[in-house]
């Protein structure tokens, strides 16, 4: 490998799509790939927060000896001699289905449509429940509010298909400082429409912390 500044002992040499790459301990497969200009699609990954692994678009197929697995690259560190395939059939199958289902789940999202089209998915076989929906419940907004802003103003309620981004009792949360970080991390722009349900009407916030 070209990187001469690292001693050979703490460098992990492995392969992504046949290309030999090197990582330092602590890097994930995704980070290493990106550092080497290898593209892996993601929706729920943002450098500002710890990876959560919800969108599963970043899955890659790995081969280590006889062991073949499909794993999310955003969470898994490489091991020496690992072979990573970012475009295998199994990987593409996962991505295509996720994107096709997302087309039905977030029909209003331009970003999802674009991403899906880039993977050859242009139509969906699944039923659209809410044509205005954009939120894919990736959890970035919740994570950024907890980890970066530190106020925990919004959260997920319920579970499974009913999982929804909300504030306790679905009323604007006074803990919200209206910073909009949740809007910035949102991969689909869903929070842009929803921010007001979290922060409420800023001009009516109590106390002169917010103008009134």
């Amino acid at each position: 490998m070209s990187s001469s500044e690292n001693s050979a002992t703490d460098v992990i040499n492995f392969f992504i799509d046949g290309q030999p790459v090197a990582a330092e301990p602590g890097w994930t497969i995704l980070e290493t790939a990106r550092h080497h200009h290898i593209h892996i699609p993601t929706l729920c990954s943002h450098p500002a927060v710890t990876p959560w692994g919800s969108c599963r678009l970043c899955v890659v197929e790995t081969r280590y000896g006889k062991r073949v697995q499909v794993i999310p690259s955003c969470l898994n560190p490489p091991v020496a001699e690992l072979e990573v395939f970012t475009q295998s059939e199994r990987v593409k199958n996962v991505r295509r289905w996720v994107l096709e289902m997302l087309l039905a789940e977030c029909p209003a999202s331009r970003e999802i449509k674009k991403l899906a089209a880039a993977h050859g998915v242009t139509a969906t076989r699944f039923a659209i429940t809410d044509p205005e929906e954009e939120c894919l419940r990736c959890g970035l907004c919740v994570a950024v509010c907890n980890e970066v802003v530190g106020v925990q103003a919004l959260t997920f309620g319920s579970r499974g298909v009913k999982k929804v981004l909300e504030t306790p009792y679905r009323v604007p949360n006074n803990a919200c400082i209206g910073c909009g970080c949740c809007v910035s991390v949102c991969p689909t722009g869903a929070l842009q429409k929803r921010l007001d349900t979290v922060r409420g009407d800023l001009s009516r916030r109590t106390g002169h912390g917010f103008a009134h």
């Binding site: 500044e5 200009h37 530190g150 400082i177 909009g180 809007v183 800023l202 912390g209």
Partner: protein, 824 residues
Amino acid sequence: MSPTQSVKPETPAPRLGVFLCECGTRIAPGVDHTVLTQLLDEPPGVGHVETLPFSCLRPGLARIKAAVAAKGLNRLIIAGCESRLLHKKFEQALEGLGLAETQIDMVNLRDHVARVHSAAPAELAQKGAKLIRASQAWLETLKPAPRIRIDYQGPVMVLGGGVAAYGAAQELAGQGVDTLLPLTYDPAEEMQRAHQLYLGDYHSYDRLERLIGEVEASPNVNQTRVGSLLQVSGKFGDYTVTFASPDGQSRVDFKAGAIIAALDWEHVHQLPELGHGGTRVVCQIELNELIQQGGPIEGRVIFWINDLDAGQPFAAPLSMKSAWTMATHLRENFPATQVAILYDSTMPTPLGSFDRARARELGIALTPYDNHVHPTVKNEYISYNRATDRTEQDLAWDLLVLSPRRAPGAEALKTAKILGLEVKEEAFLDRSPQMVRPDQVVLGEKLMVGSACQPCDLRGALSQGRRVAEKTAALVKKALAGDLYAPQVISTVDQSKCTVCTLCREVCDCLAIQPVSGPVEGLGHNVPRMVDPMLCTGEGTCAASCPEMALTLANCTRAQHEARVAALARSLAPDEVMGFGCQWSGAAAADQAGLRGLSYNRRFYLLPVRCLGQIDPVVMGRTFLEGANGLLLIGCNPEECHHSYGIDHTWSRVWVLKKLLSLCGLERERIALAHSDITQPDRFVTTVESFMKTMATLGPIQRDAEIQGRLQALYDALHVSRVRWVLGVSLRRPWESAYPSHMPNPAAYDHTLTEILTEEFFRARVKNLMRQQGKLLQLSDITQALGVDEVQAHEYLKDMGYEGLIAISFVNRNRFYGLPSGPQ
């Protein structure tokens, strides 16, 4: 400390490193990084330049760290994406290498350049380079201020002495924190008060009694009898709280490190309009007393939960609860009663199925009424509309029980006033100050707890006290361990310049500039202001409006702002325009425009700021002086400033700038204030496009010596404390309710302001003229050179002479004007 380290105290010279992020493919092909690197390498070079595929991921961070370590970089520019989200990550990654957060700046190449413009990558590289150069000027002007460690002394004082105060004291004592509990009455009275205030909370009384005993017995709590609160001064870690002595004859000072204001509300009887007379129509307060006396109570007792009708909807669930506990108590202990509870069907009722079953068991009628018709009290019965079928019904009564009215107590109101807190219209002291850092979330809550702030029952008041005490205790422990530092960007006062005009205190929204409340004994009002570093949020409106420029925002100074705008303004082409964007709104909307794939005129350059209120008018003047043809300020929507009044202040400042621009003979439209929000990137784009169109119509400023001279005068005039003071007093005060500033006679006010500005503009021009000419001038020289009316000029010059700003001399009976000799 080794001796070698203490020898060199001076700060090292700035060494800059620029890291260009490709963000995968989101910046790189759109912006030509090779061209950008070349531009940055041109003299004056920026130092280290490096391109990274993803600077924010671990491989990228590793490279940055390596470069910082190898080249001793102490200023970093990350040219990538949003600072709001990622600045913290870089801070954390580089903390170990001795870089403070203020030494790292981020330029959003992705959302402000690459993704919003479609132009040749090399051209976009030009734009990127200009923004990076501006950031370079900012960082190179930065003189890192030393970190302020908070010294903490004294106990935590819990003001109020109510139930919440006991809750707080118990928690603090339990955590081993020294606590001072000043009481305005005998502790034994507290139980009596609780019985009166927290109606029907029978099952919590013994718990409270235990708690009071526990607090009294605790070695960590010092209870002391005092008179009323007079004054609070000092800052976090070191407060002096003055009370009257219990007999009211003298003053007593107490030292405290932190203050928790735990204030209880008071109950007031219902208005007599509904027949309340204390015999047949009573308040829950009176019934409560009657119950405690043991009666006699018999006959038909109707509880009417009339809080909604009385305009106190927040109290309805509490009244319902107290009515419910009293009702069950009545049925269990006074068998000769029949009980019904009449309540608005739309109110949230705290009674569940268990209670309903119990109501059936005890024979308590729960009767919801339709609130379209107010129940009417008649002598024998009360008539109401049944909620289910909306038909009129009668309910006979012998004793009608109304809800009490709840309001903060007189003592609570007084304390709040002394602490500089605001009392809301609904008579609650609720307050949610802006929270910019997690530490301040704690402090924000520290100030007010108790039922006066939030309607609650006894248990709620206790738990509020505990919650706040818990957080305060953590902060105090941190401070005592020497680990508590003030944030890096806070206001600091140069006390030698402060003239105690108190403008800053009026402007301050974070209660940081109010260590002194009211006059100080022996010193009167004339005590220079101080800033409580733990309360300051670093918004900086105070610094930007100080008439004497005595306030400075550490690590975010006016000098930095000026250097940044100067660097950018100088580099702009004639058709290029710059602007400021508030990080909460304008800049955030710009980021959002990039993320949402919108596009706008690439000749617009946006500089992000923490709050527009931070932009001193001097900085605005500087942009025009340095070559900007227009300035667009994009802040929060009216009434929505995230700090408090930054947008209002900017509004006034822009207004002054417009006046000055027209005095310069330039179009007022060259400066504009716009509003935006992170949820409205499309509106941001419209704003920018329309301003660009205006600027295209206006064309560049023809910068001859005359115009530059005028702009210099504009810039100089903005430094004058008189201008700044007039501007300051036109600012909005926290207690004002209209936007923009409410003024009794706006036209007259505006006239005065224009006059003052005209005069100060003239003065600045005269002084500059004198400096340029370097000789004594006659009136005609001045009027010709400045093109002003002679009579007016004569008046102005006369005043200048009186004020000693210029020297007037006579040669051959001719008046000559010149700069005064001596130190200028």
